[in-house]
């Protein structure tokens, strides 16, 4: 579980095969990435397709020509050292990068065949279909119930306002059913069913994170993006989140960033390894990536030699 905390220039291991190595001006040899290492063949449909994705923050080239297909209803893990662009990649999938003014994105991301980066994309619809859970739990400072009903209310799917109540058209029952369903799906219902009106900030960190997952489920997403969702949690809370992710993958397409390799190995169906510099180096079946990686740099990273 070693992690390269300071992204240094890579000192890749020299390989005998001259075809795979490229001599740099400094005389070090750097492993050349091969396309077939990231050509993951899988059964079933691709939920999201990313092609030649480049991201720049100002002059900083954070992601370099990433292409990958994300299979439907499965767990895809993204691993790699800090600063290699995992979060950047994830934020491209629901266009959260639009919120960073210095970010510039090139390439194509398709959701179920539809281009995400084209004019006229409805961001509301996109983000409803591609939900996101963040690194540190971030429930709103509102009650548990309000946290979950927040999205649908703002989208006009639920109306429990004063006017609706006066006109006897309140969706309060519908809302309560939704709250219960989401909390059950996020394995939180049993712990909080008797205090739905308490402030969410009173929950423990693990409960808050599951509440955030429940909140994300409230708008009926197809894809759930998670950026190191358990890195701020203790082992027991982490185990609960991992179980939950496993359950969710039956209905949802889950893409999870983690720097915990055991976690990636435990919960994911396929794993993508990013290395420093914003390259996708290897992408394939989790067992294959962990047991028999093509890339030596990936092997070094996984076995802890990297960095």
């Amino acid at each position: 579980m070693s992690e390269n905390q300071n992204p240094q220039p890579q000192t890749g291991t020299a390989t005998t095969d001259s075809d795979q190595s490229l001599t740099t001006t400094t005389g070090e040899t750097v492993e050349q990435t091969r396309d077939e290492w990231t050509n993951y063949e899988f059964q079933g449909e691709a939920k999201m397709t990313v092609e030649d994705l480049d991201v720049y923050y100002g002059d900083d080239h954070a992601l370099k020509g990433v292409s990958m297909e994300i299979p439907e209803k499965s767990v895809t893990a993204l691993i790699g050292p800090s600063g290699c662009g995992k979060s950047t990649y994830l934020r491209c999938l629901n266009r959260m990068n639009d919120r960073i003014s210095s970010a510039r994105i090139d390439g194509s991301v398709r959701l179920g065949g539809e281009e995400v980066y084209q004019d006229g994309v409805n961001l509301v619809e996109l983000r409803k279909r591609v939900g996101m859970v963040f690194q540190s739990p971030n429930p709103f400072p509102k009650s548990i119930r309000e946290n979950i009903a927040y999205g649908p209310k703002k989208h006009g799917d639920l109306d429990t306002g004063l006017l609706a109540r006066l006109l006897n058209r309140s969706d309060a029952d519908e809302r309560d059913r939704l709250v219960e369903r989401c909390l059950r799906d996020a394995a939180l219902w049993d712990e909080v069913s008797d205090r739905l009106d308490d402030n969410a900030l009173g929950l423990s960190g693990g409960q808050q994170q599951r509440l955030c997952i429940a909140r994300c489920l409230s708008v009926d997403p197809e894809v759930i993006l998670m950026d190191e969702p358990a890195s701020a949690l203790d082992p027991i809370a982490t185990a609960k989140i991992e179980d939950l992710i496993d359950d969710l993958s039956e209905e949802y397409t889950v893409v999870i960033v983690t720097h915990n390799m055991q976690q990636a190995a435990r919960i994911s169906d396929q794993t993508a390894v990013f290395l420093t510099g914003g390259e996708l180096v290897e992408y394939g079946d989790t067992d294959q990536v962990f047991e028999n990686p093509h890339s030596e740099r990936v092997e070094d990273y996984i076995t802890g030699k990297f960095g």
Binding site: L123, R127, K128, G131, P141, K154, N199, L201, V219
Partner: protein, 542 residues
């Protein structure tokens, strides 16, 4: 505590001993002296009178001397090992500087004035006395250094009062071009206060056994005495206004069924069971008791109007600056401008209202002009505090909302603003405190008079009229000259003796007006604090 060897590993503090008790009594004595000094300063106790059967000055002097002797005894006892302490090698330079200051004053004053050697010798003596005190603090071990110079200071000051060298009628003419003198009424409380602070500090250090723990105790006592004096000052101020104002306020007040005036509440005419003419009447020739009702109502409407104007504008500007505008030159300029506006003198705002607003609203002083002027005064503070509050709302909330597909404006409305509300309310509270008491802008924009008849009580709600021509609503009440409490108070004071014919006791009338102003402002505070508490409760989990 003979035989108790003091090794470094003593985890359990030593038990209370007689010497500790002495130090504790010294601290208590300091507290008593401190309270007496404050009371004397505000003339709650008279210096010429007696206290507990002893002349006040003699008592203060005796207590000071006793405190000084106790402090010295403790330090010397510690030095010769009869008191168990844990002193450092030196009391330190800061303590030395602290001890030097009063000795500089004493040395200078005694040499130049008491002994009459003149200014030059006085200056030399001042420096010499300060240097000796500094050396006596810094050079010896901490227990002596932090007790001897301060203890002697207390003892000397105490003896001067005790022996009557400086008595209750002592005056020192400064001999300046202006009339200036230092009197005993000023000197004795101030000297007692300061020397007592030193005494409390020294005895607290002694109580802590000197060393690190002693310094901690010393700082603790100083901080406490300081906090207490601030609270005492505030309390005295309010108490003074209350004591002076209550007689006028309750002049002619009555409780009992049917004593109050008739009012209409929700369409039902009721007779109030209390009657407080001062707040229920205006001024009229045939009134038994006169009152300031029009000014109270004017103040309340004035504040409401200013808040209604400033809060939406200010919060809107803050939303734009924090959530929409890119951080850069423009936001910086706006920031500087708002800060500058907040420090702009109120008379300048008043002048703006006078020159710009009045010609536009019926060419006369009016409630509306006052509201707008004070609203502009309040605006910068609302912008500043709302911005601060919005900036401190974590970005995680905005991210979470955006990730749900919620639009920026809806996010601001449903997440950012509620989270920032307590901060916004704090800003409004502070601002209202300032504008509700403003006199200058009202003087220029609203006026009113010294005595306002009840008929001039503004009725903002009842004056709304609907017209068939644009702007379709009109409210003549807003365009009438209206009085507010601060201005009326000012008018009452400047009107001087000429009041006699209308009000039986002009002085009581003025103080009662001041008290009412205080109550009105404090009520706005209370409303604000309750609102903030409510919003905070909603954001927190307990």
């Amino acid at each position: 505590m003979a035989g108790a060897s003091r090794t470094g590993g003593n985890l359990v503090e030593k038990e209370t001993t007689e010497t500790d008790a002495v130090a504790a009594v010294a601290i208590g004595l300091s507290a008593v002296l401190f309270a007496l000094a404050i009371a004397a300063m505000f003339e709650r106790i008279s210096l010429t009178g007696t206290l507990a059967g002893v002349e006040t000055v003699t008592l203060l002097g005796g207590l000071l001397t006793a405190l000084g002797v106790a402090v010295i005894a403790f330090g010397v006892g510690s030095r010769f090992g009869s008191v168990e302490t844990d002193p450092d090698p030196s009391a330190g330079i800061i303590a030395g500087g602290g001890a030097a200051v009063p000795w500089v004053v004493i040395g200078g004053a005694v040499a130049s004035e008491t002994l009459g050697f003149g200014t030059a010798v006085g200056a030399v003596a001042a420096v010499a006395a300060g240097a000796v005190a500094f050396a006596a603090t810094v050079l010896p071990r901490e227990d002596v250094g932090s007790t001897l110079p301060l203890g002697s200071l207390l003892a000397v000051t105490g003896l001067v009062f005790f022996t009557g060298v400086i008595g209750p009628t002592w005056v020192w003419e400064l001999g300046w071009a202006q009339q200036a003198a230092i009197t005993a009424e000023f000197l004795i409380p101030v000297a007692t206060l300061f020397t007592t602070l030193y005494g409390g500090w020294a005895s607290a250090k002694a109580y802590g056994g000197f060393g690190a723990r002693g310094r901690h105790m010393g700082a603790y006592v100083l901080v406490y005495l300081n906090a207490i004096s601030i609270v005492a000052f505030l309390f005295t101020l309010v108490a003074y206004v209350v004591v002076q104002g209550v007689p006028g306020l309750l002049n002619g007040a009555d409780i009992g069924l049917g004593t109050g005036p008739e009012t209409t509440i929700l369409g039902v005419s009721v007779t109030l069971p209390v009657s407080v003419p001062f707040v229920m009447n205006g001024v009229a020739l045939f009134n038994d008791f006169q009152g300031v009702l029009p000014a109270i109502v004017g103040t309340v409407w004035l504040v409401i109007g200013a808040v209604l104007l400033a809060v939406p504008l200010g919060v809107g500007a803050a939303v734009f600056l924090t959530e929409y505008a890119d951080r850069g030159r423009f936001t910086q300029v706006v920031e500087v401008a708002t800060n500058g506006l907040w420090s702009t003198p109120s008379i300048v705002f008043g002048l703006f209202g006078f020159a710009f607003l009045i010609p536009r609203f019926g060419n006369g002083k009016s409630l509306l002009s006052g509201m707008i002027t004070l609203g502009f005064m309040l605006l910068p503070l609302v912008v500043i505090t709302s911005r601060e509050a919005m900036l401190s709302v974590p970005d995680e909330y905005r991210d979470a909302s955006a990730a749900l597909g919620v639009s920026k404006w809806q996010t601001i409305r449903s997440v950012v603003l509620p989270a920032a509300l307590p901060g916004v309310v704090t800003g409004v509270i502070l601002g209202v405190g300032r504008i509700a008491g403003e006199t200058a802008p009202i003087l220029l924009t609203m006026a009113g008079g010294t005595f306002i008849p009840e008929s001039q009580t503004v009725d903002v709600i009842g004056s709304f009229q609907f017209t068939s021509a644009p702007p379709f609503v009109a409210n003549p009440a807003l365009l009438e000259a209206t009085s507010a409490l601060p201005y009326q108070l000012y008018a009452l004071i400047t009107a001087g003796v000429g009041l006699g014919s209308s009000v039986s006791d002009p002085n009581a009338f003025r103080w009662a007006t001041a008290l009412i102003l205080l109550i009105v402002v404090l009520s706005f505070y209370a409303i604000g604090i309750a609102t903030r508490y409510y919003f905070r409760r909603r954001l927190r989990h307990n």
